[in-house]
């Protein structure tokens, strides 16, 4: 039993964090928000150069072969810096899906090495999402059709942009026609891959939400320490302290829930979906509380376009229902919890 990260995992996270701190400052996010594409190829290339896009590509296909546990940390960093890119969709969610294909499947060799080197921009979807993130910008889309999954070139897809309050999300309604030539996986394999896809997508969002929560907390702590009223920093008042202490508590409480889910997915454990849903709910709560308390302690400034908090709040609000809304994840938990034979009580925290 060792519920911690390895030094390698932690130092990789640290390196990515240091890199993003300088390369993805809020001023830069604002600039990218205002571009038509809403994406910076330059930023993406530099992130790829750090090795992030190669993280979960198998070593045979030119990647680092790390698993969901590493992504539990990386998605937090992507959230913390509100990276305006669906990078995790390509590098984590899609890479995970492709790595689950048979070893001889041609899509592996065609797509995985390009994901690893950072030259491929994918969009990936599951029926649970009505709109496809980054569909307009992708070179290739991985799309579900019933139990099947298809790999569709951008040219074969009609995309209608659907603007979001979070300008860093670029959503599209897609119309396309499945053909035998685009088929990636079908039948039992398609169902299995779609189930994993959903769990990875949901875990990716959970990690990003937790990172966002931490960023909003940090911004709020900075603000209340410097903003003065009644002759002292407002952060010295208990009412303000307690708001932020509650946010810290939700964040700390959510972390290990996220980590167990990531480990369960990496190990392919039967409890993984249930754990992912728990992680999602815990991280949703932390991020929405961080947004609510964050705007409150910022006062009227929090309601402005000018203060950076808004970018992180909007991302947190927007991601809340992505890859399954809270109702979906609650029903998955309820279906387990209230059924006969649920393993409840102490001693069942991990799979045995």
């Amino acid at each position: 039993m060792d519920f911690t990260f390895t030094d390698d995992q932690l130092s990789f996270r640290e390196a990515i964090s240091r890199f993003l701190m300088t390369e993805a400052a809020p001023e830069m996010l604002r600039e990218i928000w205002e571009t038509d594409a809403g994406r910076s190829p330059d930023l993406r290339n530099r992130i790829a150069a750090q090795g992030l896009t190669a993280l979960s590509v198998p070593e045979a296909e030119g990647g680092l072969g790390m698993d969901d546990v590493a992504w539990a940390l990386m998605t937090q960093e992507l959230g913390y810096y509100a990276i305006p890119d669906s990078l995790a969709d390509t590098a984590y969610v899609a890479a995970g899906l492709l790595a689950g294909l048979d070893a001889q499947h041609p899509a592996r060799g065609e797509l995985l090495p390009r994901i690893a080197e950072g030259s491929l921009r994918l969009a990936i979807n599951h029926p649970i999402n009505p709109l496809v993130s980054d569909a307009q910008l992708a070179e290739v889309l991985i799309l579900p059709d019933g139990d099947d999954l298809h790999r569709v070139p951008r040219a074969a897809v009609d995309v209608q942009a659907q603007p979001s309050i979070d300008a860093s999300r670029r959503l599209g309604a897609v119309s396309w026609h499945p053909t035998p030539a685009t088929l990636l996986a079908s039948g039992e394999q398609g169902r299995r891959l779609q189930a994993q896809l959903l769990d990875r997508g949901a875990l990716s969002v959970a990690g990003q939400l937790l990172g966002l929560a931490q960023r909003m907390l940090d911004l709020s702590v900075d603000y209340v320490a410097q903003r003065k009223q009644f002759g002292k920093p407002i952060g010295s008042f208990q009412a303000v302290k307690h708001h932020l202490a509650d946010v810290a508590r939700q964040i700390e409480q959510a972390k290990p829930v996220l980590y167990r889910a990531a480990h369960g997915l990496a190990q392919g454990q039967p409890g993984a979906s249930l754990w992912v849903s728990q992680a999602r709910l815990a991280c949703c709560e932390a991020s929405w509380l961080a947004a609510r308390k964050g705007i409150q302690v910022h006062g009227a400034m929090g309601y402005t376009w000018e203060v950076d908090l808004q970018m992180f709040m909007k991302r947190a609000w927007a991601l809340d229902a992505s890859w399954g809304d809270r109702g979906f994840h609650k029903s998955r938990i309820g279906a387990y919890l209230f059924a006969d034979g649920a393993r409840l009580g102490p001693g069942h925290t991990f799979e045995e």
Binding site: M1, D2, F3, T4, F5, T6, V69, L217, V221, V224, A225, K232, P233, G235, S236, Q238, V240, K241, H242, L244, A245, D246, A248, R249, E252, Q253, A254, K255, P256, V257, Y259, R260, H263, Q267, Q278, L281, A282, K330, I333, G334, L337, F338, A342, L344, G345, P346, G347, T349, F350, E351, E352
Partner: protein
Amino acid sequence: MQLTYTPKQQAFRAEVRAWLAHNLPREPLASYDTREGFEQHRAWEAMLFESRWSMVMWPADLGGRGCDLTEWLIFEEEYYGAGAPMRVNQNGQLLLGPTLMEFGTAEQKRRFLPRMAASLDMWAQGWSEPNAGSDMAAISSKALLDGDHYVLNGQKTWSTRAIFADWLFGLFRSEPGSTRHHGLSFLMVPLDAPGVTIRPIKALNGKDAFAEVFFDDVRVPVANRIGAEGQGWHVAMATAGFERGLLLRSPARFQHTARKLVELFKASPQAAERDPALGDAVLDCWMGAEAYALSAYHTVGRLGRGEQIGAESSINKIIWSELDLKMHETAMRLLGARAELLTSAAAGGDAAGWLDGFLFAQSGPIYAGTNEIQRNIIAERMLGLPK
């Protein structure tokens, strides 16, 4: 990250489970807030000690098993999962015990720890005073040095089960004229010493669950002081850390309650139908208990890697106390009109256990440092907000 138990840990779990299956009391013990129940619990503690289960993390020469924190979590899971009795001597074993191990002399350890493990000595706390609650540094009870004794005068209060206990530990002002956290000493006081008067305070459940303790020229040997003269605050803060931290409220206890809550929900379809919010509340409670357990394993892992936990123990305290309250509130809502009934009410059925727990849960956010104080600690020490 490696989330499976080793064969040794699995064998340990099996051993605990087997012992409990054999030795658990057939009938539930009476409440330990009564004299009768207190002595029943003391006898149960003696049984635990006899088989070296009372303090599994203590070394073998003190009657323990030298278990690590993971084994301790396993023990707790089996213990509370089996519905075993509440632990009556936790104030001594979990608060004073580690303090003695860290700050006590060899003689003090020999003298107090084995008897504590066996519950031959039952311990009460002496922190709070009428004018020193959340503001503990306002302590005014005095301990004046007179030769090789301290002479104690003053009053302590909210001392849990003190009317049944044998000893009290707490802070006394030993340096005349000192203020705040300076000049305090940490003393152990036998409750049968001349000059000690204990008056029970009836708690919400109508039982003598705590007491006020008066000291009139009580003579206590200097040998009963833990740590240096005037260093009591430092010693006590370490104790308060243990209390809020993992040990006092291991997650298993709440996971057990969460399981019972799910069972109650499934057995109460009509209540659930009348109030659709109840299912959501039960789900939330169960997830909260799971999250607390995960946080415990994560903390144990981090401690194992040499990390320190500081203000995070304040987060723990808020988590378990609010969770306990929420679980019992949800149970009361599920029980509906039966919730108010005492054990003596035939129509109550299984409701009374929840009522007892509900009453006790009201105290969680208050004792061991109110949750408001915990939030201050989180804000100031973890987030670095100004005082």
